[in-house]
């Protein structure tokens, strides 16, 4: 898709989302889900940027999210820094860790990167729960149960009336999506497409794979960590239970539904996935089964997700050139 079409699609999506509180503003439960949708849409878009565009099989997305959330909560609690600044510092810290992880691992090949980044995810839980974690204020196995709520210009956002926070998150999500769009359509984006086609070809063009990969790693870790911060100050409590398989799978499903490498598919995917997940919840244990079956079927019949489907339906060029 060209950037005009993506921008148009983004505008449509965000406009629709922006008017949702008119219908659901009175229902906290739904507003809460919508806020989570906004948060996941950014996290999933970042993951898509890494996996779909840069072609790096990073599995550390949830880990970076959790790091950011803990970092922001701890900074605001221990140094008295207002949450609105803490989230950015948390983003910076996460980006720093992202670079530290990226330095050794971006030299590796696909499945190895997946493993190393997933290793970060696996190690994070014992670290947060253990002595190191307790020393930096993670609350160990208990987690953090009282995190300062977000305050801007003296206004405190509370979970009891989620509509203001929804618009704050919407603003953040819009800014993030624009950043991602700029990256995709900039020199970086071109470089990644070249890298994906062929490492040698890219080398001829003078694209340093490593530098670009590290940059995208840092950027997405920053955004993901920052979203973690916003999550922490919204929900008000944290525990290592977020590192369970559930969130990881949900994000993966978002990408499947939205389409890998099909920004802004991840945003659409986030809303659809969370909605389906909620609608399926009366099924109890049949919910994850249905989810699993859905992923399998969607990957087969809708390989590029919803956006891929749109592209196929509306594109002028024939999809497949056969000779």
């Amino acid at each position: 898709m060209d950037h005009r079409r993506i921008s148009f699609l983004l505008a449509v999506i965000w406009t629709i989302v922006a008017v949702l509180p008119l219908f659901f503003g009175g229902t906290n439960f739904i507003m809460h889900i919508l806020i989570m949708c906004l948060i996941w849409s950014v996290v999933a878009s970042c993951w898509d940027l890494i996996m779909g565009f840069a072609g790096i099989f990073s599995f550390g997305q949830v880990a970076f999210f959790v790091m950011g959330s803990y970092a922001s909560a701890i900074i605001s609690a221990q140094f008295g820094i207002p949450p609105i600044f803490a989230v950015f510092i948390a983003g910076g810290i996460t980006a720093g860790i992202g670079i530290l992880v990226g330095l050794p691992c971006l030299k590796l090949k696909g499945a190895y990167i997946a493993l190393v980044t997933f290793a970060v995810h696996m190690i994070l839980e014992p670290v947060l729960k253990g002595e190191i974690g307790r020393a930096i204020g993670t609350g160990g196995t208990r987690g953090l149960l009282t995190i300062e709520p977000m305050t801007i210009f003296g206004y405190t956002f509370s979970t009891a009336s989620p509509v203001p926070y929804f618009y704050l998150m919407l603003l953040v999500a819009v800014i993030c999506s624009v950043i991602i769009l700029v990256v995709i359509k900039s020199h970086w984006g071109t470089a990644f497409l070249a890298l994906k086609d062929s490492q040698e070809f890219a080398a001829c063009l003078g694209v340093s794979a490593f530098k670009y990969k590290l940059m995208v790693f840092a950027l997405t870790s920053f955004l993901t960590g920052m979203m973690g911060g916003f999550y922490a100050h919204y929900v008000g409590m944290l525990s290592t239970r977020m590192l369970g398989i559930d969130l990881f799978v949900t994000l993966m499903v978002i990408l499947v539904i939205g389409g890998v490498g099909k920004f802004p598919g991840a945003i659409i995917g986030a809303f659809i996935t969370i909605a389906i997940n909620e609608l399926l919840s009366p099924l109890g244990p049949y919910r994850p089964i249905t989810m699993g079956a859905m992923v399998v079927i969607l990957v087969l019949v809708l390989p590029d997700g919803i956006v891929g489907l749109f592209e196929r339906l509306f594109s002028k060029k024939p999809h497949d050139i056969t000779h």
């Binding site: 208990r142 149960l145 929900v235 525990s239 079956a293």
Partner: protein, 407 residues
């Protein structure tokens, strides 16, 4: 199969709003429990108790003449936003008049459900939940804990270990716990107690869930030859593998499993093999013989319905529903949440074994008519041998020296 599932799905979706519309004269009861993921089995235990109480009330004509309608919510793995979502859904959206959870998030639940007014019953058994409660007792007045904290339970375990009619060959203890809030709470309390009594805690290990190769730890245990080994990992797989590997070359140690004895699989999988293991259940119905005739009747009824003895949590969750129902009867209006909460807090509830009284932190402290029951596996079944506090032997049941101890 897939087709059937699809039809089921559509039906479920279609019926959901429909039932909500028609069922005007029911009282909705929220039941947030783990229905998927690693905590499913504990979720089932609570559900059995809750379901039994609701059915009992409904067949007896309902509460204030209205039928109770349970609304389930899958809390999955208790991620913070999931817990919050449950509260917003049940209390905010469905507007239930009480919530019955089991393990519900170790303090996260207090914050999530404290925002609302519907009486909330949890089985967190955790000091962190109490700490959150203490921050704002007025806001959280609808929160009720059905069991005592891990600290007090561990204290009780220690009391009983010291009261056993058995002479320890030495004063060395080994503590192995899971690296979660519950495990560390119990482990730390036990260590403190052992040290105060002049014991040596020769080893205090935190292990991650999923550990099933105990070789390295057992190697050290065999060198230490402790008089007591306490294992606190509430997951059958870990504790059974530990026991089996321990039994290959046992030391002369009392094996105390604390709350980890209660996953039903432990006894069901091992049967008589598990004979000798010690454990405890807070807010428990002692088995196989209940303390009062009413309690015995309850026990029998539970066994008829579900086909096995009650597991940890079943009776507590059942009593939570009954306590709330009794308060609603007294207040006369299920919608007056504050009055119902106040009633429960001040009056308590008269259950099968006697009075339930919540303390000022809304915790059902162990003792009185509802003590912690301490069990030993004998003949392949959990047998109550002690109750605590106060520490006293239970009826005519007696501690048996485990078969692996050579004296």
């Amino acid at each position: 199969m897939k087709k059937a599932l699809g039809i089921f799905l559509i039906l479920a979706l279609a019926l959901m709003p429909a039932t909500a519309l028609w069922a005007k004269d029911t009282i909705k009861v929220g039941v947030p429990l783990a229905m998927t993921g690693p905590y499913t089995d504990t979720g089932d235990n609570y559900w059995k108790g809750i379901k039994m109480a609701i059915d009992e009330i409904n067949t007896a004509g309902g509460l204030l003449g209205k039928q109770l309608e349970p609304i389930r919510f899958d809390t999955q793995e208790f991620a913070p936003e999931r817990v919050m979502q449950g509260a917003d859904y049940l209390c905010g959206q469905i507007k239930v008049d009480s919530v019955h959870a089991g393990w519900a998030g170790w303090g996260q639940d207090v914050r999530a459900y404290g925002k609302y007014t519907a009486p909330f019953f949890a089985d967190d058994g955790s000091q962190s939940a109490v700490d959150v409660f203490k921050q704002n007792k007025e806001e959280y007045k609808n929160i009720f804990q059905l069991t005592d904290t891990g600290i007090n339970q561990a204290q009780s375990m220690f009391n009983v270990l010291m009261a056993l009619p058995y002479e320890y060959p030495n004063k060395k203890a080994v503590i192995i716990t899971a690296d979660d809030a519950w495990g560390t709470e119990v482990g730390d309390t036990l260590e403190k107690n052992f040290k105060e009594k002049g014991w040596e805690v020769a080893m205090h290990e935190l292990v991650p869930y999923g550990t099933n190769q105990w070789g390295p730890l057992l190697t050290q245990i065999r060198r230490i030859k402790p008089a007591i080994i306490h294992v606190e990992i509430v997951s059958a797989q870990e504790v059974i593998t530990f026991f089996r590997q321990f039994m290959k070359r046992p030391t002369d140690s009392i094996l105390s499993y604390g709350y980890s004895l209660v996953p039903r699989e432990v006894v069901e999988t091992m049967g008589k093999e598990a004979d000798g293991l010690l454990g405890e259940v807070p807010t428990a119905m002692p088995t196989p013989e209940a303390p009062t005739p009413e309690a015995q009747a309850w026990l029998d009824k539970f066994e008829t319905i579900w086909g096995h003895l009650p597991q940890a949590g079943s009776w507590a969750a059942y009593s939570g529903v009954k306590a709330w129902a009794a308060a609603v009867e007294a207040v006369g209006d299920e919608k007056n949440h504050d009055a119902v909460s106040d009633y429960i807090a001040t009056n308590g509830y008269k259950g099968e074994t006697g009075w339930w009284k919540w303390d000022e932190d809304h915790v059902m402290r162990a003792g009185g008519d509802v003590p912690i029951a301490h069990y030993q596996v004998q003949n392949g079944e959990m047998v109550a041998i002690f109750t605590d506090p106060p520490t006293k032997p239970y009826k005519n049941y007696q501690f048996q020296v485990p078969r692996w101890i050579k004296q």
